[in-house]
């Protein structure tokens, strides 16, 4: 990429294109921002988008073989659906009356009667219908007949920065948009070496023409280039990035994305205001 082209393209305005969207995943194309800036969104998604997770566990009874410490840790890792704005963020002091509640209360009371059972996340009862385990199939512990567990859990809002349990995503990727250039002349379209070389099946021959079947699958590994160096050139478009994320389930992917933008803006605002403070002090 030459300097000239970069400066030329950067004048174009920022654009988001949705490539793929479903209940738990989203892929968007961020046009006309540097990859580092797109990456800041990715980083914020992992560690700054707040969610609910069990932080305090009061164990009144635990006859299982699992130690209390381990049980509490496992409970903490259960993803909980997070009603946005309902609970106070860690930085919001719950001092005033009528302010948001600090935590959601959940309980787990279970006993194995006559045969061994596996305690699942669906056994957790919540006082707030908006807060419940994302999946009911998460195994917590096995209990032998006669064993039981009684525990009360408090779920707090938190951020991935403090513990991975508050991270809303399992996958969060930003990468430059691949660019595959195929020379029109010189390819005999029959050898298919490049098509076979690509493990992801990005290339295909269709109607006697070598084409890019699925650009977004390309990892830019360059194996096709090695197979046919004269015809194919793979590079990265430095001005466009693919952002792909998979939600664990506390929040919808689109919520995560918009919260991430909010968080970035908030961070920039904080930075801007602290800059102002510094400059005022210096005056």
């Amino acid at each position: 990429m030459t300097k000239k082209s970069t400066s030329k393209k950067s004048t174009r305005s920022f654009k988001i294109e949705f490539i793929e969207e479903s209940d738990n995943r989203i892929m968007v194309l961020l046009r006309n921002i540097p990859v580092t800036m797109a990456n800041s969104i990715r980083r914020v998604i992992i560690s700054h988008v707040p969610t609910l997770a069990i932080e305090r566990v009061f164990i009144f009874r635990n006859d299982s073989l699992m130690n209390d410490d381990m049980l509490a840790h496992r409970l903490g890792l259960i993803p909980l659906t997070t009603p946005l704005g309902k609970y106070a963020l860690p930085e919001e002091a719950p001092d005033e009356e009528g302010s948001k509640p600090e935590y959601a209360e959940l309980t787990l009371t279970i006993e194995a009667k006559d045969k061994p059972i596996t305690v699942l996340s669906s056994d957790i009862k919540s006082k707030d219908p908006d807060v419940k385990p994302v999946s009911g199939d998460i195994e917590i512990v096995r209990l032998a007949p006669g064993q039981g567990i009684e525990a009360e859990m408090w779920a707090y809002m938190g951020r991935g920065k403090d513990h991975a349990k508050w991270s809303p995503v399992s996958v969060s990727v930003v990468r430059g948009l691949p660019v595959i250039r195929i020379k029109k002349t010189g390819c005999n379209k029959k050898c298919k070496k490049c098509v076979e070389a690509c493990p992801k099946g990005v290339l295909a021959v269709k109607k006697g023409q070598l084409i890019v079947k699925d650009l977004y699958k390309c990892t830019t590994c360059g194996l096709c280039m090695e197979a046919c160096p004269d015809i194919i050139k793979v590079s990265i478009d430095e001005t466009s990035s693919i952002l792909y994320l998979e939600s664990i389930g506390q929040l919808r992917p689109i919520e995560i994305l918009s919260l991430a933008f909010d968080e970035v803006i908030k961070k920039l605002d904080d930075f801007y205001s602290s800059l102002n403070e510094v400059s005022l002090e210096n005056v």
């Binding site: 990859v35 580092t36 797109a38 990456n39 990715r42 980083r43 992992i46 560690s47 164990i59 073989l65 130690n67 209390d68 410490d69 381990m70 840790h73 496992r74 890792l77 059972i117 596996t118 699942l120 199939d137 195994e139 991935g160 920065k161 513990h163 991975a164 349990k165 991270s167 399992s170 996958v171 969060s172 990727v173 930003v174 990468r175 430059g176 493990p199 992801k200 099946g201 990892t219 830019t220 590994c221 194996l223 990265i236 990035s241 792909y244 994320l245 998979e246």
Partner: protein, 1132 residues
Amino acid sequence: MSFKSGRIDVNKFLVSRPLKYDTWPIVRAMIKEFGLSKQHIDSYNEFIEKGIKEIMEENKYLRILTPNEEVVYEFIDIWVDKPQTTEFDGSILDESHGYIPSICRLRGYTYMAPIKVRVKIRRGEIEEEEPNPIEIGKIPVMVKSKICVLHGKSREELIELGEDPDDPGGYFIINGSERAIVALEDLASNNIITQKEVTSGTETYTSMILSVKGSLRNHVTVNMKKNNITVKIPFLLTEIPFSIVMKALGVVTDGDIAAAVSRDPEIIEELSHTLEKYSNIQTQDEALIYIGNRTQAFQQPLERRVNRARHILDKYLFPHVGIGPQYRRRKAYLLAEMVRRVIELKLGRRKPDDRDHYANKRLRLAGPLLGQIFSKSLKSLLKDLHYNITKNYLYSTKISLSYFVRSSKITRRFAYALATGTWTQRTTGVTQMLDRTNYLSTLSHLRRIQSPLSRSRPQFEAREVHASHLGRVCPVESPEGQNIGLVKNLALSAVVSNEYPTELMLDILNKEGLIPVEEAPDEAWEGFARVFLNGDFVGFTPEPKEFVDRIRSYRRSGKIPASVSISVRHLDDDRLLPEVYVETSNARVLRPLIRVVDGKPLLTEEHIKRVAEGKLTFQDLLKMGIIELIDANEEYNILTAFFVDELTKEHTHLELAPYIFLGITASIIPFAEHNQSPRNSYEAAMAKQALGVPYLNLLFRMDTRSHLLEYPQIPIVQTRVTELIGLNDMPIGQNLVVAILSYESYNMEDAVVINRAAADRGLLRSFFYKTYESSARIYTGGTSDKFEVPEPTVKNYIGEDAYRNLDEDGLPHLEARLTRGDVVIGKTGPPRFSGEYRESQFMEARRDYSTTLEQFSGTVDRVVFTINNEGELTAIVKVREHRIPELGDKVASRHGQKGVIGLLADPEDMPYTADGIVPDLLINPHAFPSRMTVGQFLESIAGKYGALAGRFVDGSPFISYDYDDLAKLLRELGFEPMGTEIMYDGRTGRRFKASIFIGIVYYQKLHHMVADKMHARAHGPVQILTRQPTEGRSRDGGLRIGDMEKDVFVAYGASSIIKERLLDASDKTTIFICEKCGLEGYYDSREKKLVCPVHGPESPLTPVNVSYAFKVLLDEMKSMGIYPRLSVKEVV
């Protein structure tokens, strides 16, 4: 979604490279049938059943001579009962009362069983049997041996008894702690070993036999120095000329002696000197007198001397041939054979025997070792009995043996030996505390072999891997450092032989045409092969090859045990006759091989199938002669192929499986054949330090320290042996996503970067358990300790806060959080020293004897309250600490690649792939080029394939996938075939220029953790004598500025720092020196004056700053009568 049984069947999901001829079911059947500590248990059982009776036979009679008559006690039977002991209050404790291994471990008991005898008393004409069996002592019981209560119990029953059903057994429980016997690697007994020694220019040729029979162990050595041949016999003061020994044994004429040695004139020529030199002694009687004069009895009457000589020759010369006069001739022939070998060695016809060859090695296991103790203690018991009965005979009408036997003698001897590992004064370290770090380390410990050779001397040959180790001793697993090559481990395929009676074997040999030595015609001596049975020269055979084949057919048809070895040795020199060796002895290390006839293995696919289905056992295959157990001697007669496709017409055997020559620990390394060999050795040592699941009966054990991995995982890439030995039920690590990538400098020099999010989610977390124990002693005088929360008035009261976790019974409640310095067990007792009476005149004055937590904080996990074997109340408290991986904790892959955690990196900073995979661990690429652990790369690719395909991958050495296979598998799943992927820097989002190698590698968390080691101090305790800071973390010691550190300051010229560190911050003290005499004065606090001990208060005293250690030196000199004088001058 809930699952039924606990575990995935790994075999069902294991992807293996298809093999043409896969003998895996046979290996599996073999290990399943034999178990992993078979050698110990077999040996112990043999002792309980046979060995103990043999020792009794040696000491069958106890004769008491009284003035009136002779009383003879005859032991007619001896046996070991079921485990049983006497409780502190005298009651009998047996299985029904909870005398079982798990309770013994908890209560600190010794797990033992009574040895009982039946006695017949002969008194003149009267003969009567004692009505009841007499207990003469107790012998520690080997766990899972025949007499153990766990023997033959099903898994469910074992669980019911609080045992781990997968525990291998084969160890003892002494005072509650598990002691394993480490097998001693001895030189083979009863075998002739001929060697050449050169000491200061003179060559000595020696032939040596360690003759063992029952508890007798005697060395007989033939020495040939120049041309003089002498024999060294135990209990004789000097070496005896060969010809005289022969004459004493009844081979009188020179011609007969020479004929017994050889018919070869060249060899006889070598004898002539010895024969001629001592020709003055002609007859057997003269020879016996000659020998008798050289016994301890040399000053006694002639008759006694001669008798002594006879006794020595009959009992201590070659006891393995037989004890008694009827064996003299046989002994003479054996001695002549030794001489022949010495001469042949001298003439260069024969090579010296290889001491390091495994044919010349035997394992000394539990049976013979315990026999040694029993024989000694029994003799000493009989001596005591003799004394006591003789003494009391006149005063007592009772002559029952039970009245005199003190059974504690033998009991204590056994317990002492096993508890300390001291057998004789020279042999120590025979038993060790069983390693329970993880399941693998336990198994490995029970299969360890120790060489008795000295640690300090080089002995290079003895430490090297010998060709005969193949399949017997693991070539990989040995410690680094001074014990290298001396401490070894049994290979997976190794089987230790059990004894088959020599007499029965001799019958078979005779039936098959053995010509006995005594009846051998001249032509046999001239040209037939000699036959040795268990080291005894028994006869000749004209056609050794056919003879050996005939005997082998007995073994191959299951008529004699598979462990019998029959071999013929053709020596290099044509003039030497072949020698046939038949061995039925125990303690030889054998290995299984498949027989091959006409280039085809006898073990067919059909057999393998039937074994896999459980219709045929490994034992059956042995009996059918399809698989043979071969010892190192017989290996001379066979040609073995490693793989089926290597077989030719010449081959006689085929390796059972190519991967079973490794030991247990080395067997868990996947793709081990791709690694540089020392790396496998390092891993073999490291796997024993990995945290995992040490045992399944966690709730029934209170070990002083133990670790438990929170989320142990079955390795995705594993060897077949991993599943076989049960390591998949108690794994020792976790499957980590590993990228080979440097990360700033946080993973340089073998550090690794760990993803913090992974650690948050439970990666490499473990629990550390520590147990505190305290007993309430009962003192003479009616006072005793008491568990309680001490009142603030008791002496040594620590402070209310420290006791806050205790309930009224002095013990903490479960799940109580204890921090450093808190009391775990509250206990008070009477004050210890009489000096304290000044403060506490009353009897009820108490002192605090509480146990506190030091250098550690945790949660109370379990409390046991019991009575120990002294009858004292005992509290045992297990405290657990949750260990989350932190900076400095040690981890290692299975390829000798260890490292410490250098950074817990935030997940957003970690590199990621296009799919969003974030590695758990980053290892630096510099860890690979010089170490050449290619196995780790292959594991990584295989692991990646396994994870993507939802399969376990077989990485067994020599038979697993190669790189091309793995690349193809990975390619099919849409990944780059080399195992690399395009990755992005988490901090910038930019693509790395290079493709990054990323895959799944099994990592182990090793038990070296920062939490156990970190230490710092400012002020702190000092030593009493020198007033210098204490040393070591446990004493809150200082960090030493040593010589090297000092040199840094010297080089820098920082003299004030040296003075500050070495004096001001250490043991600086001010003393007062008398200016007149130069001695140290003191301060008289009553007069408020400085006083010189010589010149009194009037003399001028100067304060001087010195090191307190220096003051001690001055004092010590004064105490020795030296006058140290310090002359004091003003510093200008």
